[in-house]
């Protein structure tokens, strides 16, 4: 499922109990991982991709993933690079050394946000309780990634599979985001 699509990076945090577990919907906390914010102009992308081990996507709202690597388009000069937690320093150093002389900015934001995995046939319904985006597969195919707003909190949504989404929020917003997701999902338990 999702972990394959996301380069094996977005996986449920084994130490956490599910926030919600229904047959049609589950909400799970994702395990920590290394996140880097990479900013650069187009000329530096090739070198950065080589150093990272994965091309950085240039199509808006798209993502590339390979084993243990994912690169998410966040803006025309902004990418989020994901790697296993323990590879943070190695990835950081590799990109920095490959890009010396190329103007760029690489910043560790691994701890800035947290992720929950929302999956199941009701996942789109649930996201639409707070996000005003058309999540039909035509408009938001698998692999699409975007920042948006969930009720009053800024979030990032990344479609890992047809019915599986990573929802990332800055750490202090996660109680709000996951709390409202769980509350809104409650009606599925109603008789």
């Amino acid at each position: 499922m999702s972990d394959v699509l996301a380069g094996g990076l977005i996986t449920p945090d084994a130490g956490e109990t599910p926030l919600l577990s229904l047959s049609s919907l589950s909400i799970l906390k994702a395990a920590p991982l290394a996140r880097l914010s990479f900013r650069a102009r187009e000329a530096s992308l090739g070198a950065a991709g080589t150093a990272f081990g994965l091309d950085l996507p240039v199509a808006p709202l798209s993502s590339n993933s390979a084993e243990k690597r994912a690169a998410l388009w966040m803006g025309p000069d902004e990418w989020t690079l994901l790697a296993p937690e323990d590879e943070l320093q190695a990835v950081f150093d590799a990109i920095e050394s490959a890009l010396s002389g190329h103007p760029h900015a690489l910043v560790d934001v691994s701890d800035r946000s947290e992720t929950v995995i929302v999956s199941g046939e009701q996942a789109v319904w649930l996201l639409n309780t707070g996000i005003f985006i058309d999540f039909s597969l035509e408009e938001f195919p698998v692999g699409t990634v975007t920042r948006t707003v969930f009720h009053k909190a800024p979030v990032m949504v990344w479609r890992l599979a047809e019915e599986t989404f990573a929802v990332e929020a800055w750490a202090t917003f996660m109680d709000y985001v996951s709390g409202l997701l769980v509350q809104s999902a409650k009606e599925l338990e109603a008789a």
Binding site: P60, G75, E78, F132, T146, R147, T148, V149
Partner: protein, 101 residues
């Protein structure tokens, strides 16, 4: 809630993802020290605030974060054009005529 096209993300999104930045194409003087007091006050505060078709700035603050410009009819809220920051201001009269405004 307006529907706004981001020329960088190339999608239409709800207004809640955006922040309006007021009138567009008001450039900060490159050497402010050579600007008269009157011109500086104009730069700071004077805006056309027209009823009709005008160009305004938007930022896709909860998206790609980019500033871009839009031509909007302030009467109907219809957007006539979206374009990237740095691109020249389109001919507003021509756009208005084309849209039958």
């Amino acid at each position: 809630m307006l529907l706004i096209y981001c020329p960088y993300c190339q999608v239409k999104r709800a207004e809640t993802e955006f922040h309006c930045g007021g009138e567009a194409h008001i450039a900060r003087p490159s050497d402010p020290s050579k600007t008269t007091d009157e011109d500086w006050v104009d730069f700071l505060y004077t805006r056309s605030n027209i009823k009709g078709v005008y160009a305004e700035r938007w930022r896709h603050i909860h998206g790609c974060g980019r500033f871009f410009n839009a031509v909007r009819d302030t009467v109907s809220d219809d957007f006539l054009k979206f374009y990237k920051a740095g691109e020249p201001m389109p001919d507003l009269n021509a756009l208005a005529a084309e849209a039958g405004k």
